[in-house]
Amino acid sequence: MGDLARRYGPGLTTIILLLVAFWLIMLVIVPNLTLLEQSFRPYLPVVDVGGPKDTYSFSNYLKVFNGEIETSVLGITFHIPVHVKTFLLTIWYSMVVTVACFLLAYPLAYFMAKVVNPKTLPTLLLLLFVPLWVSEVLRAFAWWIILALKGPLNWILLGIGVIDKPVRWIVGYDGVVVGLVYTYVLFMLFPLYNAVSSLDTNQIEAAEDLGAPWWKIHWRIVMPHAKPGIASGSVMVFMLSAGSLLVPSILGSTTSQWFTQTIDQWFKDALDWNTASAYAFLLLVLCTVFVTVAMKLFKVRLSDIAK
């Protein structure tokens, strides 16, 4: 802080600090605390708010266990509350998105960090950034058009004879996964790129000199070194995917439901902000727990990611 004051003078420093405080308090802390407080209160008609019925309880949170439906996975049929099912599917497909992003981003990150001529790298980065200039809504719609039954993808595949009748691509969660991968793959790419480019090229050459085939060089040398980058990329893609509302709304099919859509319905359709808040916190807390457990399993520490 003393540093800031010395560099920008007391006036500007005060303004900077006030803006940061405003950002943190008014835009992050206050709304979240309000929602948290609301999530423990029942949804009441306006006249009853603050009255004797307005007491704190966990009942909003327990609503996820209402309404069992029959589900079958791998031939086993069982009953499960519908919102729990939505939650589990959201977690599962967010994992699928994370893995797909890794599989796409890792080779590209390696290529950018270790293979490509440093002179052409800025051009490559620019090409990667260009799609970000278009709004997320338009990008999701672009995929919706590409994947449509009478869209360009089917048209091309029919043209070159790979398929003989149009394929319905947006079924189940497929459209959502494609859209989320496209939207968030760069959040995987950049941490990976940073991690891989910090690896001393001599390490790769030493491994090769000692007889390692290319895939073992990656498995034993590059990936272990890039682990913090893989972890921070994965956490980001996973959290963003699980929390995304736009992509599942646009690219979802009749049979796909994202947990954020359920929250959205509580907010906008049921106008029950209290239950919506409870669901939102449930998603936040459970995703955080999930990520923490995953990090423990892969032996990654928070301080590694911060790097």
């Binding site: 001599n202 030493a206 000199d209 000692l210 007889g211 390692a212 085939p213 034993r220």
Partner: protein
């Protein structure tokens, strides 16, 4: 067990820049061979071509008699020790050493046993389970050697491996490397810009300048009979006289300089070429009276005590600096600053040399 290496007219260009220019050398199996030269002269490039990380622009490289053109580093019987060692920081020491064996599909117990055995060879027992960051510079050095030896290479390639160590340790590791090389019988190709290192350890030395090999000879020959001015200046100190060579007889030639007519050895093949006269400070004798030949009057400007010897810096009447080294064994009287003396040398100890390689 060990293999010889032949480079035949090897050229390496980076764009329009020629990093290695027609290198020809034949390294014998089991030899300790050093490439010596200033930074940027192309030593690392030669080593990387032998290990397979760079393809030569032209020329042939043979390892153990077979042309290795097109073979990847993991298909060559060489092991490279990198300038920065490139140990794997995320693996314990024994996994580092056994990495090559792991890649060859050797089972874990055998790998571990081999790693322990190699740690004993490099005098580092008990370090198997430590991490790289826990070792000192010299210990890391030994691990790098053990890791390279584990794959039983026929040729070890070492890129300035001692440059990061302090002086005492460097001298110790020199002897150590030499011992390991003798014990294993593997051909060592060693790169350094430190002339003392190259002379002390090698069977033969190749001195390089600007991509060209200037001279290949054993350490004594390199020092006593340098092929040209570059080698003479890079390996040790000299007093240098400019002038023109005159008539030669019996291997010696007259050399006319502003300091008078001197005589020195003529090196075969340099007749009629521009040359300079080189004589080592330890072969330069100071006396109160002029010597019979090769005598130049000098005024003493500075006397520097260096421990084992004393350097006397003087200047001739024409302003040319002259240095003479006296052994600090009480045999010579140390001159005073400002004394007027005569510097002289034996014609057999002085040579007329061209500046650089003139064979091309």
């Amino acid at each position: 067990m060990s293999a010889g290496i032949d480079l035949q007219d090897v050229v390496c260009d980076f764009g329009s820049f020629r990093a290695v220019d027609h290198a020809n050398v034949s390294i014998r199996p089991g030899e300790f061979f050093s490439f010596l030269g200033p930074s940027g002269c192309g030593k690392t490039t030669i080593l990387r071509m032998i290990s397979g990380f760079i393809d030569p622009t032209a020329g042939t490289i043979r390892i153990g008699g077979t042309d290795v053109k097109g073979k990847r580093p993991n298909q060559r019987p060489t092991a490279l020790i990198f300038q920065n060692l490139a140990l794997f920081p995320l693996m314990p020491i024994w996994e580092n050493i056994a990495f090559g064996l792991e890649m060859r599909g050797v089972d874990k117990a055998t790998r571990r046993a081999k790693a322990e055995e190699l740690l004993k060879l490099v005098d580092l027992p008990g370090a198997a389970d430590k991490m790289v960051s826990q070792l000192s510079g010299g210990q890391k050095q030994r691990v790098a050697i053990a890791r390279a030896l584990a794959v039983e290479p026929k040729v070890m390639l070492l890129d300035e491996p001692l440059s990061a160590l302090d002086l005492k340790l460097r001298q110790h590791m020199r002897a150590e490397l030499r011992t390991i090389q003798k014990r294993t019988g593997v051909t060592f190709i060693y790169i350094t810009h430190d002339q003392g290192e190259a002379l002390a350890m090698s069977d033969r030395v190749g001195v390089m300048s600007q991509g060209r090999i200037q001279q290949i000879a054993d350490p004594r020959d390199i020092y006593n009979n340098p092929a040209n001015g570059f080698v003479a200046s890079f390996v040790g100190e000299n007093n240098i006289f400019e002038g023109t060579a005159g008539a030669a007889s019996g291997g010696h030639a007259a050399f006319d300089t502003p300091e008078g007519r001197l005589r020195a050895r003529q090196v075969a093949g340099t007749e009629g070429k521009p040359v300079r006269l080189y004589v080592r400070p330890e072969h330069t004798i100071l006396s109160a009276t002029p010597a019979a030949e090769n005598s130049v009057p000098v005024t003493v400007e500075e006397v520097a005590f260096e421990g084992a010897f004393i350097s006397v810096h003087g200047r001739t009447a024409t302003g040319k600096p002259i240095t003479a080294e006296l052994r600090n064994d009480g045999s010579a009287t140390v001159p005073e600053k400002g004394a007027a003396l005569h510097a002289s040398f034996d014609p057999a100890r002085a040579a007329l040399l061209p500046d650089v390689d003139v064979r091309h």
